[in-house]
Symmetry: C2
């Protein structure tokens, strides 16, 4: 047996170990602490280290990408020393960052992976006039229309009363030189001319000095996101997200609809979400040194209930059978009609939705994710407060909404919370001791469990045998983490001594049932959609995951509990907020807007509550991962390991 | 010499008089009082009586129509007894009514003398829907659009956010049966379909139960007039007039423009005129048992300043060289944008004007008076607070505005007042005694002189030699009516003992100068217009007089002072408020609206202040009636008599 020298960058001296020693054991001998939350089972990826010199054999590379491996990364618990090596142990927070599945598009500046001709409807046109004289007493508005026809090719121009009231003063202020801001459409008439709406007149300015800003907005039930876009370049100059101000009036859409139905509830809901959007507008404008009055267009996506509440349209029928919306494709409106604090004349495009529970956020997601133009059979899902699923490709699209309930948002779970500071977002359980390790958003003391934390926890409980496939406790595991609590059987994730509020954080039997129902609803949605078009689910070539949920979701664990279908890791792709990105495309491109309408009207909506096969698919999915284990071969293998 | 018996109906016994006796003398002998304000000179027509049996010779029939003469009417001072006759002496007030030139269209119910196809754009359409079901989850707005397409042939329908907010509730309230109120246009596309705007949805109503009201509005500088029209029949169901609420802020347009330019003046002016219109709307609706919310359309005419103030558009440039408006043809607006208290979705059509001082009231007048379609060379004039003139026919139209000033409205004249209760509206002066007789509006004691009273007075003063052609006093007339007052030479029309306020009512030399300038401006306008097209003024075949001024104007006396051209009485026609009538046509008829736009853009505007010949024409007209007496042959003849 040969000995080898293992040198850790964080230890002063190397250690000598025999061939075949695990790197994690070598670290222990060297006095180097490497976290192994999963108990050294090669599941959590938290013991990743970088071998900077020498060779070692990797038994497993779970959670490491081929690039990672090429760069020397290895899991300490799965790597065998077979020669002299030098090891770099990264600080813990660096690992966390590397492992986080958050691939938000926060750094998007120009659209990538999406081809569009970029036909912007906003225009700025410098106009010069012959001033009126005794020989030419043409009125101001006719003079303006003439200039727009001759100098900008606009056959027909609309103007609001408010702008008409100011036009004469502006023309004179600018010494008969102005820059006009217009929203231009191809004229319907065969003449091929343009028609449009005058949005602003700026006295004596040259075109390039007139900024044209646009807002892309996603109104999530939980979170509102705003991107501020320079529409002349397509650059996203600032973005910001904030809780939807309506949250205090109900966490899910149903409770918001109920609230909106009482007294002044609708007006209050409307003003709350407007408050949030307007605040975000202010924030982004400030960051980009823009004036809200220079924002001339807003494209807004959101689920159907959010769109109704934004526009002050009663959403009651969304909730009641036969579940119809008041409007799927709202007309174009002006900012001052909607209540947005941008230029009052700005065009507000409330993007088209499909049905009560498949809203504009989903059609925008289908646009921006490219499902509608791919040849691959694609499953697109957006699991936020609700779960919406689209199956299809460029040929056809079917969609449904799963009333997953808010369990994955942390609601309906005793110690549940939203994915915010203090939420446990990932959990590992040591297979031997049943002791958990967890990661907390923000890094401080935990306050509860968010959706991804719950999924992670449930998967670990299953893999370590704390619960069985039905979600029942394994009495045999015998650990003080498992106990009878106020609400029956529970597993303690964090003792009161570790938590922010001093109370234990547990998952109860009731919580597990809620989570089972939520994940079963979503998986049953996949099943019914696939059945509806007569296609086996495993024909799906890619799974695109949008929505804030996708930011934290650990796919492997989601497969373990049967929330996502059992497919190779590389078929899954996280796209972040596909809704705001769709709105962004619409903001920039007239063609994208036309495509979006096409998408919204082409998608076939399947009402699950009217589908006979849904209930069977749902009950079959009420197990971990599923009653039919043949659908989850990798989970079966992991369980046997 | 033969004697004849003259029998008066109001006397118990007949009188015997010789052949050749004047009927007025016979009346005196019989003890019958017949007023002769002009001193028996056959000018005033106030001694009209009806000969019911027998024959008499009429020396003159001034102010009697051929029909009157046929019916036996005769002037007592101009009629010679030549046989036994029976004479009916009408009560004084009956004569007054007959003589009043007020031919307002107060009794118009259906348009007369105007041919139009009556294509109404307002529609009410009963719609029936299949209610939504699990098999048909179409959203409400799409369902509504489909029904409008299938059941009303509308390819494209716009809806406001406010109506969209209510639509779903109304559809359900009506049990999926509603009547839709629409404003419909022919679609621009070649498809030949219709497009329109949804104005209202009424749950479960049958079409005939849904009233469709329209408002025709004329905003005069002094008076606002509203007609409430049942657009399904064309009937004017109620009408009302009221002083423009802006009067307290200035009597003429120039002072209003100045007021509007200061601080919140514009907003105040706007709200004042809106207050007047909304009050008149209430009044007319109440009379017709209509609800303001059932008024779906308003067509509004007014001079350019009034239109600007109504819409809150700064009118400043109207007043300053080169005198251009901010807008001649305002866009269609909604009632709630304009501030009218009718249905908030109602279409407000602010009618098109021509220039700063030839507004929509004139183009509407040209429409309703039929000038634009007659083959006769026509002079159309609307003398209210301003004087606008149109010359032309179906072939061409030229127009100008005379800054006549407000003298004819009673302003700028010491004892001037508006044509309201207490105003002296007609005056006769006895040629022998220089003693005046007058008629007062409302019949009570006089308070002042209105425009028609001033014209009448000036004409009488000229004919009786109280003043000469230059407006200077004839010292030789020697009467205590003529005296030196505080403002120089004056003629007393009413002694303080007769008046309401106990003070004398006079006309001063300064007043006469003001009146001369006002009438000269208007007559010069005629001259310049005729010159501009190279046509002698006496080729004019008809003179159509619109505006409130036309209600009281005594043509004969207006000719005497040289305000109107010297033409046979029958060429003059009084049309009353041609502006509101034009608005009324537009309200009923899409074709009329198209014609109005055509009229407004076809009229050639001549700016008098830029016209070299205007000043000459003006100074030539600063005489009574004119320096060139050959233009006024009948006046010359009257003066020689």
């Amino acid at each position: 047996m040969t000995d080898h020298l293992v040198r850790f960058d964080v230890a002063s001296d190397p250690v000598k170990v025999p061939t075949g020693t695990l790197l994690s054991e070598a670290a222990r001998l060297a006095g180097v602490e490497i976290g192994q939350p999963c108990g050294g089972q090669g599941r959590c990826g938290r013991c990743a280290v970088q071998i900077t010199a020498g060779i070692a054999r990797r038994r497993s590379t779970v959670r490491l990408s081929p690039v990672d491996v090429e760069n020397g990364w290895a899991l300490a618990c799965q790597t065998v020393v077979e020669g002299d090596i030098t090891v770099m142990v990264p600080p813990q927070e660096k690992i966390e960052r590397r492992l986080t599945t958050d691939r938000t598009v926060a750094d998007v500046t120009v659209p990538a992976g999406y081809s569009f001709s970029y036909v912007q409807t906003l225009r700025r046109v410098r106009l010069e006039f012959n001033p009126p004289s005794m020989d030419d007493q043409t009125d101001d508005w006719s003079r303006l229309q003439l200039a727009l026809r001759q100098q900008a090719g606009l056959n027909q121009v609309d103007i609001s009363l408010a702008l008409l009231q100011k036009a004469g003063t502006i023309l004179r202020e600018g010494g008969w030189q102005v820059t006009a801001v217009l929203d231009v459409q191809e004229s319907a008439e065969s003449s091929g001319g343009l028609s449009g709406r005058l949005l602003n007149l700026l006295p004596g300015r040259v075109e390039d000095d007139v900024p044209l800003w646009g807002l892309a907005v996603d109104i999530g039930t939980t979170t509102v996101t705003v991107w501020l876009v320079d529409v002349t370049t397509g650059e996203v100059k600032a973005q910001a997200s904030e809780y939807n101000g309506q949250i205090a009036r109900g966490e899910d859409v149903v409770s918001r609809i109920i609230y909106a139905g009482k007294g002044d509830g609708l007006a209050e809901m409307r003003s709350l979400v407007l408050g949030t959007i307007n605040e975000l507008t202010q924030v982004t404008c400030k960051r980009a040194h823009a004036e809200p009055a220079e924002v001339y267009k807003a494209a807004i996506a959101g689920n159907s209930t959010m769109m109704h509440l934004l526009l002050g349209i009663p959403p009651a029928s969304i909730r009641l059978s036969p579940f119809v919306t008041a409007v799927n494709q709202p007309p174009l409106l002006r900012a001052n009609e909607v209540g947005l604090c941008i230029n009052p004349e700005a065009t507000v495009d409330s993007l088209p939705g499909v049905a009560s529970y498949v809203g504009a956020d989903i059609s925008a997601g289908v646009l921006s994710s490219g499902v509608y133009e791919t040849e691959k059979l694609t499953l697109f899902m957006d699991v936020g407060t609700n779960g919406e699923i689209v199956l299809g490709s460029r040929e056809w699209l079917v969609t449904c909404a799963c009333s997953a309930g808010p369990a994955f948002e942390g609601a309906g779970v005793a110690d549940g919370m939203r994915a915010t500071r203090g939420a446990i977002e990932e959990v590992w359980i040591n297979g031997d001791t049943c002791e958990p390790t967890y990661r907390v958003i923000g890094g401080g003391r935990p306050r509860g469990l968010c959706g991804s934390g719950l999924i992670s926890l449930l998967a670990e409980m299953l893999l370590t045998g704390v619960v069985d496939k039905a979600g029942n406790p394994h009495a045999s595991r015998g650990t003080n983490r498992v106990r009878e609590g106020a609400h029956g059987w529970e597993y303690v994730v964090a003792w009161g001594s570790e938590t922010e509020h001093g109370k234990d954080i547990s998952i109860t039997r009731v919580d597990i049932d809620n989570l089972l129902r939520a994940k079963a609803a979503i998986y049953a949605g996949f099943t019914v959609l696939a059945n509806s078009v007569g296609i086996p689910l495993d024909w799906v070539e890619q799974v695109l995951i949008g929505g804030s949920f996708g930011k934290y979701l650990n796919v492997e664990k989601a497969v373990h509990i049967g929330l996502l279908p059992d497919m190779p890791w590389e078929r899954f792709q996280f796209l972040g907020n596909t809704s705001v990105r769709g709105a962004y495309y619409v903001l920039l491109d007239r063609e994208a807007r036309a495509r979006l309408s096409d998408i919204a009207s082409r998608m076939t909506y399947i009402e699950l509550s009217a589908d006979n096969s849904f209930y069977d698919a749902f009950t079959s999915a009420l197990f971990l991962p599923h009653t039919d284990m043949s659908k989850f071969p990798t989970v079966e293998a992991a369980l046997q390991r």
